[in-house]
């Protein structure tokens, strides 16, 4: 007998409030019936970064509206839904909590199964939603809050090969934009400036390339950019547009070099495990950067590994990925109860040593 599952996903772990509805019949590819994202960029713009309390306030009052819009777009009612999936971490806890509580209200009121999803698993499983990627594949998750290499072996099984030991590249792009008077979010504005600049004018550091392994560091790059900027400011009293473009191009080149070199190492480790269909997938907001994408594609071609990057709207934060991860967990029999905990920290690979953070809150990544 054929089985159709329709799942509602909710996401609110950073500055996007999102709801999506996904439907899958048997083994056929899942269909995204609706994917609604309410951004908050304008609320945070003047602060030069996401302010957790402002984000939490917006999520709590938008989630139900977002669900209603997703239902309207899909032409469905809540009675057509079979399960509720929600991001239960990691992320800004105020937003995660709002999502988890809204999902609990929905699941309790409808008498439906509730499935807590790891936000990172949502990103990491997206290549299966978009490309039907077969396990095990290598994943580079690179966003405003995260940067790590993962081998995805199953919906609940990941091995982390390495990641950033301090800032995420997306954070560095935002900070660069702020230091150079460019609009937020920094990724697109820095990339646009970089196309007009000379990437060789400033020699910014490529940290940790001299060390083995796949760990990365981006905080020193921010500092180097700040120093270069301040040197120009003290000489000229300001930045010319060319200075700014050159700073952006040199900064982006450093990020690209680090990601490319570490990706080559991660691919080598992954390929040693002889996957049947070797694949590198990249996801997260920074995967939208075309220079990064192009270099990673070259790395993969050179090493004989397929490359995929989900479409932009599924690379950045969205709820379709949460619904999809929820669907895989649902099929695996995973269910949460009404005591589901919202977690600010939740490493995907629980066995790996902490990259970042420790103490009573546990590892951040």
């Amino acid at each position: 007998m054929s089985q159709t599952v329709t799942i509602l996903g909710l996401e609110s772990s950073c500055d996007d409030t999102a709801a999506a509805i996904l439907r899958q019949t048997d083994e056929s590819p899942p269909e995204i019936l609706a994917s609604i994202v309410y951004g908050q960029s304008e609320l945070h713009a003047r602060f030069g970064g996401v302010v957790p309390e402002i984000a939490a306030r917006a999520h709590a009052e938008k989630l139900d509206l977002c669900v209603e819009e997703a239902l309207a777009v899909a032409g469905l009612s809540l009675r057509d839904i079979d399960a509720i999936a929600v991001t239960a971490g990691p992320g800004l806890i105020g937003g995660v909590l709002s999502g988890v509580m809204c999902a609990k209200g929905l699941a309790a009121g409808l008498g439906l199964p509730l499935i807590g999803v790891n936000h990172l698993a949502g990103h990491a499983l997206t290549p299966r939603l978009t490309d039907g990627a077969a396990y095990p594949y290598l994943m580079l998750l690179v966003s405003g809050g995260h940067c790590q290499f993962l081998i995805a072996r199953g919906a609940d099984s990941f091995t982390r090969l390495g990641g950033t030991i301090d800032d995420a590249p997306g954070e560095a792009f935002d900070k660069t934009a702020r230091l150079l008077g460019l609009p937020q979010p920094g990724g697109p504005s820095v990339q646009a400036e970089a196309t007009k600049g000379d990437a060789r004018r400033f020699r910014f550091p490529r940290p940790l390339l001299d060390r083995p392994g796949c760990d990365m560091s981006f905080s020193g790059l921010k500092t180097a950019l700040l120093r270069a900027r301040d040197t120009i400011l003290s000489e000229k009293g300001g930045l010319t547009r060319q200075d700014r473009a050159d700073l952006c191009a040199s900064f982006q080149a450093a990020v690209v070099d680090v990601l490319a070199a570490k990706t080559a190492r991660a691919v080598t480790i992954y390929v040693e495990q002889t996957p049947a269909h070797p694949l590198l997938a990249v996801a997260g907001g920074v995967a939208a950067n075309s220079a990064i994408r192009a270099r990673l594609e070259t790395v993969c071609t050179d090493l004989g590994v397929a490359f995929t990057a989900p479409p932009l709207e599924l690379c950045t934060d969205n709820a379709a990925m949460i619904a999809y991860a929820g669907l895989e967990l649902f099929h695996a029999g995973h269910r949460d109860d009404m005591a589901l905990v919202a977690r600010p920290r939740w490493p995907l690979d629980q066995a790996a040593a902490a990259l970042l953070g420790s103490g009573k809150k546990g590892a951040k990544a």
Binding site: R46, F47, G48, V51, E53, I54, A56, R57, H59, A60, E61, L63, D64, V67, E68, L78, I93, G94, L97, S98, G99, V100, M101, C102, A103, K104, G105, L106, A107, A108, G109, L110, G111, R178, L179, L180, G181, R229, L233, K236, G237, G238, L239, T240, R241, Q242, R244, D337, M338, A339, L340, V341, A342
Partner: protein, 196 residues
């Protein structure tokens, strides 16, 4: 029948998880647990236990009354988000009730409603409805009300919601009073010079 309407009220605006179930004007159940943390995990199970104890289910509810604070920001979001999810699922109204309104329920005449705020400050609502955060309680000839015990608070939230049922009301939203702590970056953007 409106007189038999089943109303569930709940509140997590301070260090507690509190709920009350009203049928008509009658309290079927009323319960509060003190807790400094863990409201997000405890709230829905507590509500389910209360409904089951009264021999009811979610589908029997006519409306939800939810405490919107002022109080702990995270706490009021926990209750408001839950209430909005439940209201959507059950297709019934969720009605936001402030702690000020719950304090004033059944009180005759003008008064000043207060709620303790962090660092010894106080949230104050004056008879004109204006709410603000003050360093100390106001000096006034009017009676000054303070929050009742959590179980009574939940009961009054349910009662106020019962009274407001049928009115066209916005969806419940937390009553923050205090703006979010956030400051624009101190480091100003650099001057951009026109290229020579």
């Amino acid at each position: 029948m409106p007189s038999d309407a089943l109303i569930l009220g709940f509140d997590t605006s301070a260090a507690h998880c509190a709920a009350a179930l009203l049928s008509g004007g009658r309290v079927l159940a009323c319960h509060a647990e003190e807790m400094g943390r863990g409201q997000a995990e405890r709230l829905v199970p507590l509500l389910e236990e209360m409904l089951a104890g009264a021999g009811c289910g979610w589908g029997d509810l006519s409306a939800i009354g939810v405490g919107i604070g002022p109080g702990n920001f995270t706490g009021i979001r926990i209750s408001v988000a839950t209430a909005r999810g439940l209201a959507l699922a059950l297709d019934i109204p969720a009605i936001g009730v402030s702690t000020f309104d719950a304090e004033g329920h059944g009180h005759r005449g003008p008064h000043i409603a207060t709620v303790p705020a962090p660092r010894g400050q106080i949230y104050v609502q004056t008879p004109d409805g204006k709410a603000e955060l003050r360093p100390v309680a106001p000096l006034s000839d009017l009676p000054i009300l303070t929050p009742p015990p959590p179980d009574v608070l939940a009961e009054r939230i349910a009662r106020v919601a019962a009274e407001r049922r049928g009115q066209a009301l916005p969806r419940p939203a937390p009553l923050y009073i205090r703006a979010a702590d956030a400051a624009p970056p101190r480091d100003p953007a650099p001057v951009i010079l026109d290229d020579a």
